[in-house]
């Protein structure tokens, strides 16, 4: 129990740190972005929006930074992330609330599929080291070095332009109305296949390589030799003895690499014009829409923290030693 409390405290602290970082970054950097923005959006920004901009960037000279910080938190706790410039006058929170389910579905499915498939492949490769299976390693190695977005470009040009099997962009069939209808959902799955495929292919090799090396290390442990010597079936030794212990570092690594995978996914969304947080972020960059950018960062960070916390608890459930140590 103490372990769980410690972890929850850690994640709360990290969330606080990320939110505070988000508050301070615009204040620490040089220049006056608000002025250039007001000029750029001449006449299109309401006084309310300008005021919230000044609060956001801390350029309101009448208040101290501490008061700013309090206001920032108050706004945040009311779900107020400012007003977007790109989709003026829609609040940022509304835009992100629409985009979040798309990202969660895409990242959730593809990450879990990639992890499971990669781990299984790693178990097989590690168990059969020194055979033909080792020839697959350089390929996995090559794929792990490819940026997500480039693989996305290749996938589009191969499977959406040359051979028109999948749509090149979008998240659902524009002819359908978003809702819980079968037409809409099947269209969404059809549109999501290609982005998911690129994420799976580029994230899978990391899991394969990590799991394979752990299998090689674990399978020379005494308890594996004993299990083998007792004449247990090979499958049982492989999964019940070796893989069960070898998978632990992969799971604890899962929580830590989530941030990296999500970063790659955001860029993949940009390539596919997939209506998730990443695409919103991309549009925000193009139009210098700072409130939307910062809102996207916060939402992504909080989601990653929640997912890491779940992975941590799964780890604690699987490995009793962590619970004792805490």
């Amino acid at each position: 129990m103490k372990y769980f409390l410690r972890r929850v405290a850690f994640y709360l602290f990290t969330a606080w740190a990320a939110i505070t970082l988000n508050f301070f970054i615009p204040r620490m950097l040089p220049g006056d972005p608000v002025h250039s923005l007001i000029n750029k959006f001449q006449g299109r920004l309401s006084t309310d929006a300008i005021k919230s901009l000044y609060v956001l960037f801390g350029l309101d000279k009448h208040t101290t930074i501490w008061q700013d910080y309090i206001t920032y938190w108050q706004n945040l706790l009311h779900g107020d992330l400012g007003i977007s410039f790109t989709y003026f006058p829609t609040p940022v929170s509304e835009i992100l609330a629409q985009a979040l389910p798309w990202t969660l579905a895409l990242v959730g499915f593809s990450t879990i599929i990639g992890f499971v498939l990669g781990t299984l492949a790693g178990i097989g490769l590690g168990w059969r080291r020194g055979t033909w299976a080792d020839n697959l390693l350089p390929i996995a190695n090559f794929f792990s070095a490819i940026p997500y977005f480039w693989l996305g470009l290749i996938a589009i040009s191969a499977l959406a332009v040359t051979v028109q099997v999948f749509p090149a962009s979008g998240g659902y069939d524009p002819a359908t109305v978003p809702g819980w209808s079968w037409e809409f959902i099947s269209g969404a799955i059809y549109h999501g296949t290609l982005p998911a495929l690129t994420i799976i292919i580029s994230s899978i090799s990391g899991w394969i390589l990590g799991m394979r090396n752990m299998m090689v290390t674990v399978s020379s442990e005494d308890y594996v030799t004993v299990a083998q010597a007792k004449g247990l079936p090979e499958r049982k030794v492989m999964f019940g003895y070796a893989a069960r212990n070898a998978v632990l570092p992969s799971i604890s690594g899962f929580a830590l690499s989530l941030g990296f995978i999500v970063g790659g996914t955001l860029v993949a969304e940009m390539v596919f014009s997939y209506p998730g947080i990443g695409y919103m972020l991309f549009q925000a960059i193009g139009s210098k829409d700072y409130p939307l950018m910062q809102g996207a960062f916060l939402v992504v960070t909080i989601s990653v923290l929640v997912a890491s916390m779940i992975a941590d608890f799964v780890y604690a459930f699987l490995d009793p030693r962590t619970r004792v140590e805490g």
Binding site: S157, N213, I285
Partner: protein, 357 residues
């Protein structure tokens, strides 16, 4: 004393125990001096990396055209005049890639060096000091580890007006040091309790000497692999930033080429020569760095050695590399050695059966 935990000595000792009396001192010395270069993976990686480093230096000079020069040859496929074809405004893509190599390499190496420096300072201090200082520094690195780095880099880079290469390297280093620091802390923690460090302390060596002469040499391999990991991260991040248009789109790097390809509809136009080579360059540098890292891993951990490289040899010797023992192949194999390895595995069986029964 410090030899005891030295990675090079460790691996030498490991192979020496597996096959005692193998080779004279002269042979052993030669092997040590060649070091990492004996590893095939590391060697391939180093060669590829060296090619790109040379291109980074001479790229702008050997580029056949001005990468910005607009000509009337729009979207030409690869030809003798334009080896990698042209863009929709008739710019030469090969020249863009050659000129862009320097930007990618400089930012990658600079960010790698800076981040490694931070991770060594934080990690070694945390591991060595212990107590409250350790708790705080570990907390700091865990926070940075879990916050998604790319969105953070994006919002910082987007706020800095006209972010150049140096700024990008600084931002990437500030967000990418945490992983190395975590690994270094764990290793320092385990080294701190070793006999040779205790002995140095008992001898009255000052703290700086213990850190720099007793502990740091034993962290070399980890620092090197941390540096390479960060350099990969830095190159990928920089190219990604350029691709999504956060950084200046007029300074050439591989990401800029992809940015223009994407925004000029190269995919729909089927201009594969525009976006394929840049991605292959990124993948080649990434693979080279990963291979070097594997080389270092296998150099330090003999269990991982001689598995992939010698699959054919093992098969020829009819050793089934499976559980229980680590086949170590060195030089010309002798029949006796093979038999040894097999009998060791066989000899284990009866004892284990007793245990099992």
């Amino acid at each position: 004393m410090s030899v005891q935990a030295d990675p090079i000595a460790l691996t030498d000792a490991a192979s020496a125990t597996v096959q005692p009396g193998g080779g004279s001192t002269g042979v052993r010395r030669k092997r040590r001096s060649l070091g990492l270069l004996r590893n095939r993976k590391a060697l391939i990686g180093l060669i590829i990396l060296a090619v790109f480093l040379v291109l980074a230096v001479i790229g702008p000079w050997i580029a056949p055209y001005d990468p910005n020069a607009v000509t009337r040859l729009s979207l030409e496929p690869p030809s003798a005049a334009h080896w990698l074809g042209t863009t929709n405004t008739g710019q030469d893509i090969l020249s863009q890639l050659l000129v862009g190599t320097r930007g990618v390499m400089v930012v990658g190496l600079l960010a790698g060096i800076l981040a490694t420096f931070i991770s060594v300072v934080v990690g070694v201090t945390a591991g060595f000091v212990g107590g409250l200082g350790d708790e705080l520094l570990s907390l700091l690195s865990n926070v940075f580890l879990i916050i998604p780095a790319l969105p953070l880099i994006i919002i910082v880079a987007a706020l800095v007006p006209s972010a150049g290469g140096l700024t990008i390297a600084l931002i990437i280093a500030a967000t990418g040091w945490a992983w190395g620091s975590r690994v270094l802390r764990a290793q320092t923690l385990s080294l701190r309790k070793r006999d040779f460090v205790e002995a140095a302390r008992a001898n009255g060596e000052p703290m700086w000497r213990i850190i720099f002469f007793e502990i740091m040499p034993n962290l070399t391999a980890i620092i090197a692999s941390g540096f390479i990991g960060t350099a990969i991260f830095a190159i990928l991040s920089e190219v990604t930033l350029a691709f999504i248009g956060v950084t200046s789109i007029s300074a050439w790097n591989w990401g800029t080429v992809l940015f223009w390809a994407q925004s000029s509809q190269a995919l729909v136009l089927g201009a594969w020569w525009w976006f394929v080579p840049a991605g292959l360059c990124i993948a080649a540098v990434g693979t080279a760095l990963t291979l070097i890292n594997f080389g270092i891993d296998e150099f330090v951990n003999p269990r991982l050695r001689n598995t992939a490289a010698s699959a054919g040899i093992l098969r020829k010797k009819r050793i089934r590399a499976r559980i229980g023992f680590t086949p170590v192949y060195r030089g010309a194999p002798s029949a006796a050695e093979t038999r040894d390895a097999l009998t060791t595995a066989d000899a284990l069986t009866p004892t284990d059966q007793e245990v099992g029964a």
